[in-house]
Symmetry: C2
Subunit: 580 residues, 2 copies
């Protein structure tokens, strides 16, 4: 059956609602985007009373489908001004799934004070949470696990959410309770801050579990998915992601000349090899106490997360992702893994998106606030955010805001969201994804890196502008479906290369929802989600001028290939022509 919880922060009430018919076959991103489209006035102030936050576990969250522990958070983004969905892998998604909560809609604004929402099988309760404000998330999680038991799930914001900064993410716990898994992008933590919802504790004790429409079909699909994930070189146990984490990509992208360095001034980083997945694994091995092949949520086969140790073997931080190692490393010219780990830890503790933080620091270095490569300087800048100083206020609102504060024009953003770890001038399909996704610059929205760099799902020339619109569109469509399923996006490697994996994706979802989607329906369903997101943005005032690369990437040639971004505006406009 499932239910929707409507949380009114103005009145501090929680209403349990039936799931409307049209929402029944939706989950994750498809559901958050649909509800945001239906309920949030597109032109509203993101931090004002009319915005909403929607939290929805993916369709399969709470089942034992492999690597399916994603939860989506949606709303209007204070960073981009458009629709936003950001998902995280965390046990919280599975607990929500088992409680048969399809979505939580947070609306209104508390007149004063901050609150914690406690959910269990019997209902919901508000508790005062002013004491959690101003604290680091590690401390918050420790207090809440101490109070509510180690088996609950926790969602919280950090100080960046308290301060309503546009780089504030929403933090979920990992299986061991770390405050380390983020719906990071787009500043949705600031929206929670504006509403006065500081944290949520989810207790699934006695939960009924996910209702399955067809158990046999589920078993069949699950088996296909497990086999696909276990067979693919990228996702298999002992494979690339499992052995070296996502940071296995560092050396690969660096070699391709597409690894943005020093605020996107070059495509190669001298210290790449010191900060890649292999170096990480070596440090974990040598120091002891860390973990490679860690899982962000129970039931993951891929297990690409990690726990990075201090030199003495004590735990330092989790997780040293490719994106974080890049944004806080190469993009800032920082080649010291311990400096990077400290910066990652600060992001986790203060409640900010690691990508936006690193892109912001890169812009700050380009401006000259601290020099490129100055790890200690970068750490001090992060503390400005924690201390809520005027400089922290600038930085905490992201890369675009920081550049704008200083009249700087080399700002690598699209729709004001910082670009991730692939250079659009050297890997042009991912550039098209950054530029055209309704989400603002986001690699996960259509990961064309697979065929452009990894020869997964085909093989295309990263430097060529040819065919990249259609390539990105296809990836964006399938991705929107995966983001709704609850599966981790990394199943894409296996389902792109193995037809049986794609069947497993469709079958497991059909088994839960009672739908009859074929593999051909996957991109079609995804396009429906994209259509809503695109329409929301249009109503919010977006035009084709928002689907443009940063101006400097049109005239500044990127070493080592010395290319500009050369896909014409008119071609970019083709992306969404079917929606116009």
């Amino acid at each position: 059956m499932g239910k929707i919880l409507r949380v009114d922060m103005s009145e501090r009430t929680v209403k349990v609602e039936d799931v409307p018919e049209k929402y029944k076959t939706l989950g994750g991103r498809a559901l958050t985007s649909q509800i945001v489209y239906d309920e949030v006035p597109p032109a509203c102030e993101p931090l004002g009373p009319y915005n909403k936050i929607v939290i929805a576990p993916g369709v399969l969250a709470g089942t034992n489908a492999p690597s399916s522990g994603r939860v989506s958070v949606g709303g209007k983004s204070p960073l981009t001004g458009g629709i936003k969905e950001a998902n995280a892998g965390t046990p919280v998604s599975q607990k929500l799934g088992r409680l048969q909560i399809k979505a939580i809609i947070v609306e209104g604004q508390a007149k004063d004070g901050s609150y914690l929402l406690k959910l269990n099988k019997d209902g919901a309760e508000f508790l005062p949470a002013d004491d959690l404000k101003g604290k680091v998330t590690r401390e918050i999680n420790k207090e809440l696990f101490g109070k509510y038991g180690e088996k609950v799930g926790i969602m919280t914001t950090g100080v960046a959410g308290d301060y309503k900064m546009s780089m504030a993410g929403i933090c979920f716990n990992d299986p061991e309770g770390r405050a380390s898994r983020y719906s990071g992008r787009g500043g949705l933590g600031a929206v929670l801050g504006s509403k006065g919802l500081k944290a949520m504790v989810v207790d699934d004790t006695g939960a009924p579990g996910v209702e399955m429409k067809d158990k046999d079909l589920f078993k069949q699909g699950q088996k296909k998915m497990v086999e696909a994930l276990r067979s693919h070189d990228v996702t298999k146990p002992g494979g690339a992601l499992n052995s070296f984490g996502t940071a296995v990509l560092v050396n690969i992208l660096n070699e391709a000349g597409g690894y943005p360095t020093n605020n996107f001034r070059t495509g190669q980083f001298d210290d790449a090899s010191k900060t890649g997945g292999e170096a990480l694994a070596e440090a974990v091995e040598k120091r002891g106490g860390g973990t490679m092949g860690h899982g962000c949520s129970p039931g993951c086969i891929i297990r690409c997360s990690n726990v990075y140790p201090n030199e003495d073997g004590s735990e330092f931080t989790s997780c040293m992702e490719y994106e974080s190692v890049w944004s806080l490393g190469a993009n800032c010219g920082i080649g010291n893994l311990d400096h990077i780990a400290k910066l990652v830890d600060q992001c986790n503790e203060y409640g900010v998106d690691t990508i936006e933080a690193g892109v912001t620091l890169g812009v700050a270095m380009d401006i000259g606030i601290v020099p490129f490569g100055d790890g200690s300087g970068a750490i001090k800048l992060m503390d400005e955010i924690f201390n809520n100083t005027p400089l922290g206020r600038i930085l905490g609102n992201g890369a675009w805001f920081t550049g704008k504060a200083y009249g700087h024009t080399r700002i690598p953003v699209v729709k004001r969201q910082g670009m991730p770890a692939y250079e659009p001038r050297a890997v042009k399909g991912i550039g098209v994804t950054y530029i055209t996704t309704p989400q603002g610059a986001d690699h996960t929205a259509g990961y064309t890196i697979a065929p452009e760099i990894l020869s997964v799902g085909g093989k295309v020339d990263p430097l060529s502008p040819e065919g990249k619109i259609d390539l990105s569109r296809a990836f964006q469509a399938t991705t929107a479906f995966i983001d709704s399923s609850g599966y981790c996006l990394f199943i894409a490697f296996a389902v792109l290369d193995f037809p049986s994996g794609m069947e497993g994706l469709a079958e497991t979802v059909n088994a839960v929802l009672g739908t009859n989607w074929t593999v051909d329906d996957i991109p079609k369903q995804g396009m429906e989600t994209l259509r809503l997101e695109w329409e929301f943005n249009k109503k919010a005032g977006f035009t084709k001028e928002d689907d443009r690369p940063p101006e400097f990437m049109r005239y500044e040639k990127l070493p080592p290939h010395n290319q500009v971004f050369d896909i014409a505006d008119a071609d970019l406009d083709r992306m969404w022509e079917e929606f116009c």
Copy 2:
């Protein structure tokens, strides 16, 4: 004949160009907007290499038409992201007119260093100007007049321009050489900063003077205009503007409940009478040493400017305009004229728009950075701008940016430009102008205060939403023509009430240009300028969602009338329907 100077800052060359046929009947705003439309890519970075600054004296500048000393500056605004024209009354306009310079187009960007452009009848010369950076404008003008003689005209930017802040204006001298007349709005000073053009010195010795197509017609039109200005109660010698300055409006708007106070929290200010034009005149009278009825440029009949004295009778600052007295006074809850004068002087000295500065301080006070009414605190905040601190960087980028930095949602802006001194909820026609003008919130774009408050050009109820779209459109059209003529906008009082004054406007312009425009052509010509501006903004990515009031004005009732802004979005959309 006339000529256009094309100033390339990248190459540091000045090219003298003939005036293309289609520009020959344009001047002031009509010409800056046309050239910006023709030459600036609408979606470009305002502080990047593709933006341009266009400086054009009005058609009549340099003639002896009364009150016609306006110069327009145009470009793409770093504050609004749209097209911008900001004009000032200054002898510089008249010198440009006499040199037969129709327009100066500043393009490119100096690779390093700042430069001064020296113009005279023989040509143009670049001189290094790095030594002028970081100085207050009073000092800059003193140095330049010392070096180039007291009879030159000076255009400069202040530190805000050096720092490329979005509230940076462009400063022109008044007849006595004060650095006090501003093309203030929209941050065009930052664009000059990005180009490396720090200052311009205009020497009109031996200039040929304005070429007149029909001297008799000019005399006839000039006489009509002089008579109209001398007859109208608002504009005549010894009339309202001449006796009390523009701040004569303080008590009038306060009585109407439309005087925005404490960041637009109420429509009345307890200390209004202490800070109005009457109080100003009293201080000037009592202290001695000041001037009421000062002129911003030679040949002005209205003479609404003033010089405000210190308590000891020495000169303090110029000019205490209605807008400045409001923005830095009531809007900040500051009721001490000397505090306000200090803030006005800081704006002049640092090179910022007084309206944007005051609206920004109001937002900062609403946030709680300093309390409302704290004049000394406000003065210290202005010094943060001069000192280029991180807080100064926030404030220097204007009201929207400051609110955004702190996650604040009570920000009284349209298109990110701070609202002037009339409350849209209490005077709804001016609200329509703020919302729909391509310029961002700007009272001068269509001054419906005339009929709504002053019973000039008719009489309408300020609180009623009825008929305000058409009223604002008519005012916007005529205004665009006046902004092109070189006349001060304040001739509008006289030409609206006296048909002969309107004839004088058409005839003097026809006499210079050789056109045959009737009084009916005046709004038609103005609409052509508006059309270009609207189209530029559309190509820059503006939509009808940019023609909206701040969200809080839709639900927060303004005392004392307890009204919201109640003109529907659909009605606002009617404004430009003929352009769609």
